[in-house]
C-alpha cells in the first residue's frame, strides 16, 4: 500500500487559492459603481442570455466573474434564499448583508472541504433609501467578505481597472457620469495597456449594464439596453 504524500495545510490552501485566482483572472471584468441615484453594474459581455449581472430581490443585485456554472449555481441559490425569506417573513427582511453572510459561509465551506474551490468572485449590492445606506459586499472564492464603498472591480485586470475608478470616482456622480467612468475603466485593462494607447473603446452592444435605481418602487433592478444605454454613453454636449 502506498503512503500518501504529506502536504502541509498551508501549502494546500495556498495551492487552492492560486488555482482559484488564476481561473478568475482569465475572465473579463465586472465593475460596480455607486452614483447619486443608485448603483450601476457594467461588464463587457456580448451574450444577451448568459448574464453576469442579475436581480436577486427588490433592492438587491448580484454580479459575478469566474466560472459560469459555479456562479450561476450561487445566483440561483441566492434568488431562492431571498424569495423564501421574503415570502415567509416580509419583503423588507431580505437584505444584502444576510445574503452576503450566507454566500460567505457557503464559499468558505467549499474552499476548505472540497478539493476544487469555486473559481468565482461575486458582489452583492443593496441600494438604500439614501446614498449613505447603499451596501456593496465583495466576496472571494475562499469566503472572505469585504464591505466596499463607492466602487468595485473584479475579474481580469481588476487592479488596473480599480485604480482607474479610484482616480475618478467621487460621491454624487450622475448615472451617465458613473456609467461612462465604468466603461472607461473596463477599457483600461491589460489589453489596452499592452497596446499602449489609453483605454480601448467598448461599443454599447458589447456591454451588459444594469442598475439598482433608488427612485423606483418595489423592484429597483433594471437592465439598460439599446437606445437607453447608447444615450447614456454618448458624450454630453
Amino acid at each position: 500500500m502506498s503512503v500518501p504524500f504529506y502536504v502541509s495545510p498551508e501549502q494546500l490552501m495556498k495551492d487552492k487559492a492560486d488555482y482559484a485566482r488564476k481561473g478568475i483572472a482569465r475572465g473579463r471584468a465586472v465593475v460596480v459603481v455607486a452614483f447619486a441615484g443608485g448603483i450601476v453594474f457594467a461588464s463587457e459581455n456580448p451574450s444577451r442570455a448568459l448574464h453576469k449581472i442579475s436581480e436577486i430581490y427588490d433592492r438587491v443585485a448580484f454580479a459575478a466573474v469566474g466560472k459560469y456554472n459555479e456562479f450561476e449555481n450561487l445566483r440561483v441559490a441566492g434568488v431562492r434564499y431571498a424569495d423564501v425569506r421574503g415570502y415567509s417573513y416580509d419583503r423588507s427582511d431580505v437584505t444584502a448583508r444576510g445574503l452576503a453572510n450566507a454566500y460567505a459561509q457557503t464559499l468558505g465551506a467549499i474552499f476548505t472541504t472540497e478539493s476544487k474551490p469555486y473559481e468565482v468572485e461575486i458582489v452583492v449590492a443593496e441600494v438604500g433609501t439614501r446614498p449613505e445606506a447603499d451596501q456593496i459586499y465583495r466576496l472571494t472564492y475562499d469566503g472572505s467578505v469585504a464591505d466596499e464603498h463607492g466602487y468595485v472591480a473584479m475579474g481580469g485586470s481588476a487592479e488596473q481597472i480599480a485604480a482607474k475608478l479610484g482616480e475618478r470616482w467621487h460621491a454624487g456622480l450622475s448615472l451617465a457620469e458613473a456609467l461612462q467612468l465604468a466603461v472607461e475603466a473596463l477599457g483600461s485593462d491589460a489589453a489596452a495597456e499592452a497596446a499602449g494607447q489609453g483605454p480601448r473603446p467598448i461599443a454599447a452592444d458589447q456591454l451588459e449594464v444594469a442598475v439598482l435605481d433608488r427612485a423606483r418602487e418595489r423592484r429597483t433592478f433594471r437592465r439598460l439596453t439599446g437606445p437607453t444605454l447608447a444615450g447614456l454613453l454618448a458624450p454630453q454636449g
Partner: protein, 292 residues
Amino acid sequence: MNHTSDQSGRLPAAFLRPGSSSFTDFVREYSPQLLPAGRALPAGALPGGGPGNGEAPHATTIVALVFADGVVMAGDRRATAGPMIAQRDIKKVFQTDEHSCAGIAGVAGLAVEMIRLFQVELEHFEKLEGTLMSFEGKANRLSTMIRGNLGMAMQGLAVVPLFAGYDLDAGRGRIVGYDVTGGRSEERDHHTVGSGSIFARGALKKLYRPGMDEAETVRVAVEALWDAADDDSATGGPDLLRKIWPVVAVVTAAGFRQVPDAELEPVVEAVVAGRRGNPGGNPGITTTGGEA
C-alpha cells in the same frame, strides 16, 4: 422551521441543487409548511362566535374590461363577515407582475395569500430564467393554485380570482376567469366575479363598447361597480364620507399602473352626480365626464 440556512450559516444543499424555476415547486420540497396547500386540513367548519358569527371575511365584486390599449380591472373596497362589514378599505386588485394583475373574490385571508404566492411565483421564474413568463403560463399557474385550494373550498373557504394582463406576444389585453376547481376560460370583452358580479355584468353589457379609450373604460368600470353595490349588500359603493374609492388598475404595453386617488376622485364624483335623481344611470353616459 428551518428555511433560511442550516447551523453553519451555509446555504442549504437544496438551494444549490439544480431544479425547477417554480417557487412553489421548490418550496413544496424544501419547506412545505409555508404553502397554503401544505397545511393539514382540520375537519368541520370554522368556529362560530364573534361579530358575523365568526365567519371569515369575504371580499366581493371585481370587474375587468378589455380596451383599445390593454385591460382595466377594478374592485370595490368592502369585506364582509356574514351580515357585518369587516373592512371598508380592503384591497382586492393586485399587481402580479409588470404586465398583469389579479382581483380576488371569496375568502379574503386565503385569497390574499394565494396572490402573494402567485406574485413570488412569477417573479421567481422571471429572475431564474431571465425572461418573462408567457401570459398563458401565468394563467395556468394560477389555475394550479386554485386547484390546490380545492380542499378548503369544499369546506366553504373558496377563492375565485380574476386574472388580466397585457399579452406582449399577442399585443392585446386579455382576461381569464376561473371556477372554483381551477378551470379557466378566456373572456372576450369583459368579465366579473364575486357576489355582486351579476349586477356588474348587466351594467357592463349595456355600457361596454369595443375600442373604448382608457378614461372611458375606467368610467365604465366605476359605473359597473356602482350598480353592483346598489343591489348587493356585500359590495361597497364609493365611500364619499371617508374618500375611499375603488382600486382601479390599468395594464398596457407600458406596464401596470394603479389609477391614483386624485385621478379617480373626479371620475367617481361624475358617476355619483350622474346617478342623482336617476339611480339606474343613463346608458349613454360614457363618452364624456370620465376624464380627470
